[in-house]
Structures are given as structure tokens and as C-alpha cells.
Amino acid sequence: MGILRIGHASLRVMDMAAAVQHYEKVLGMKTTMEDKHGNVYLKCWDEWDKYSLILTPSDQAGMNHVAYKVERDTDLDDIQAKAEAWGVRTEMLPEGTLPSTGRMLKFNLPSGHEMRLYAFKECVGTDVGNVNPDPWPDDIRGAGAHWLDHCLLMCELNPETGVNKVAENTRFAMEVLDFFLTEQVVVGPGGAIQAATWLARTTTPHDIAFVGGAQNGLHHISFFLDSWHDVLKAADVMAKNKVKIDVAPTRHGITRGETIYFFDPSGNRNETFAGLGYLAQRDRPVTTWTEDKLWSGIFYHTGEAVPSFTEVYT
């Protein structure tokens, strides 16, 4: 019941040809559809639904919306009622609003980010099929990302004015969308300010994350790889393709992810990461990172600040 996983992200790009080249050649996605508005739809080889990324032409970068898939169509009605009761206005978009996709419940998180939920998307199968499948297909390109795994949204946080959209989003995600909290960063006097949170619906440490910043935006969308060596190979692919790497391969303390961060040709940050971290469960005690150890949580090996990582986003 309820949300299964992240379904897709819709990103704005300023040069469609460069963007498609990036997501195909560097990430290893395949284009599955284009629509009459010039939007391009792509999927990873290990995903079975028709698309997990929508690229839309724009004069600026950033995220249009992020969508999560729910298990049953009736979940959309249930969540709509809960969201409205919580005080969040919703709209049910009819089937076909996005191609190959059923009706979508649309609303804005307290931070303002647009989220959509849907129960149906055309299933086209993974690239290895589901009868006696090989472990991987022969035509993998670039990093060969398995699937879109999660996103991190930057949310307005200003203790001086009392604005904390991280805490509001977290409460909404837990009370209405039934996510559970796995990790958090607390700052300020007595650690009273919840400055970043990681939340799950699956058994991985996060399916969505909220981090406080000066203004709302997209920090990154993240793709799953199998192993640490795949992370290294992904970095090789980026160097070959002159992709701007933000953070070279390292490990997060938070979620334990083995990671690399880089930018798409419009400056939207991507992550490829490996390692499922730990078994995330509702009864697992929440991990807390304190302000003095914040950067060990972010980059475990050095524990040192990398300003571009937290201050640059679209």
C-alpha cells in the first residue's frame, strides 16, 4: 500500500541534444519516447517502466517535478484525502497528462517543490527480460546506471525568520506519504533545528532527502550502480566525456553510500552511487549527525567542507 519508489524526475535542460547525449552516453540510459512538445523520455536498463527521466527544453536548469509510484490506484484517493486534511492542496491530473502514464495526484510539498504520484505507467520490461534473464545486457553504455534511485531537494531554512521547510517537508512526508525517517542532521542551540533529513519507503536508506539551504531547488537526482568499482568506472566515463565532476569517488557517512557527483550539461547535479548501505526498517533507530560532525556525515573520509557541494544547485 502507498508509495513504492521514485518513479521519475522531470528536469529542465537548456540544450536538449547535449542533455540526451549526456544521459545516454554517460549514464547509459536509453531514449524511449519523445513527445510533440520536444520532451524526451529515458529509462535505465534495469528499470521496467517506460521512463524514469523526462528532459524538457527550457532557458534555465532545475526540476519541474518529481514523481513517485504508488501500489494501487486507490492509494491516490487515500493520499489525496490525507494531504487535503493536512492542509496541502491537491489536483488529480487525468490519465494521459503524461504519455504512457495513468492519472497523477499533483501537489506541492511545503517547500514548494512539485510532487506527483501515480499508480500506472506502461511496463516495457528490463533490458534482460524476466525469463531466464542474463545478469546484464550486452549493450550497456557509459556508467550503465541500473535505476533512478532517489532525489535530494534543497529546502528553504532560515532560523532567523523561523522558516524550516526541511522540518515541514519531513513531517508531511511522514504523516501523509508514510515515509519513515532514517537519518537527520541537527544544528543550532541544543541541536534544535532539523537541517537535513533522509527518508525511506523501500528498504534502502533513502528514497528522498531534504536539505536546508538559502532557497528551494534541486540538489541532485541519483542513479544506482552495483559496486565500488562501477563508481570508479563511472568516473572514468565522465573524464572521457569531459563531464564536470563535482565530487570525485568517495563515501558518505550518511547512508554509507559510495558516491560520485557530477553535473549534466545544463548544470543539474547527478549522482551515481553504489552500496545499499544498510537495511532500512521502520523500527531501526534514527541516525543523527550533529553540527560538529556534519561534514564527516557528508564526506566520511576527509570530514572537510566542500562548499560547492552544499552551496551550488539548480
Binding site: 537548456m14 537535513a196 550539461p265
Partner: protein, 123 residues
């Protein structure tokens, strides 16, 4: 020829007085990064995040790619503002830094005047 130096021009960051040599085929920001120099804030290096916003106060530059209109309006661009990652110098250039990093977490202001030795998680 074993050594064919590329023609470079001088870029000066007026705010700090830092100077570096940049080719006329690379962006102002890439040229700075390649030499390990500092002076202009570095973000996505792809025209999207806006942190390398600069104003060209002397010299000529050429656009290399799209610039996010969320960070540089058409009017601003006409007045000499641009993103250092998206323009190459055609001549010697003097620039002023207009962009700045947006502080994360507001940790500094949040922690101002208070210890964090005994933090309590919020739920």
C-alpha cells in the same frame, strides 16, 4: 614543432587582483580551473547554477553555450553580466564577481552564540 603554445589573453579578477592566462577557446572559468587558480566562485561549470556570475568591465568575450535565465536576465546580459563558465575571452579581460555561494544549512547563523556540545535530535 614540439611546442606550439596557444595564444592566451590575460584575465583579471578586479575584486581580488588575481590574474591568469586563458586561451580564446576555453571559458573564463575553465581557464582558471585548469591552472588551479581562484577568484571566481566555481559551481556546475555548465551554465545552470549561476554562482560564477561575473560582469565584464573591460575587454570582449564570446558566448560558448546557453546561460540560465534564472540567473542572468537578457537585460543583465546586455549590460555586461554573464556566467564565467559560458564565455571565452577574445581579448584581455577585466571582470568583477557578481555571483556568490548561498550558505547551506544556515549552520553559522543557527549556531551563533550557542554551543552544540549536547545536541538533541528532533523528531
Amino acid at each position: 614543432m614540439f611546442f606550439t603554445p596557444q595564444t592566451t589573453v590575460q584575465v583579471e579578477v578586479a575584486d581580488t587582483g588575481e590574474r591568469y592566462a586563458c586561451t580564446r577557446t576555453e571559458s573564463l572559468l575553465r581557464g582558471m580551473l585548469r591552472l588551479g587558480q581562484r577568484g571566481i566562485p566555481v559551481g556546475c561549470v555548465n551554465g545552470g547554477c549561476g554562482v560564477c556570475k561575473v560582469r565584464i568591465v573591460q575587454g570582449q568575450v564570446q558566448r560558448l553555450g546557453p546561460i540560465s535565465r534564472a540567473h542572468v536576465s537578457a537585460d543583465e546580459e546586455a549590460a555586461g553580466c554573464t556566467l564565467a563558465c559560458r564565455v571565452a575571452p577574445l581579448t584581455d579581460v577585466v571582470l568583477c564577481v557578481e555571483g556568490r555561494m548561498a550558505k547551506p544549512f544556515r549552520a553559522g547563523s543557527a549556531a551563533r552564540g550557542a554551543g552544540v556540545s549536547n545536541p538533541q535530535p528532533t523528531r
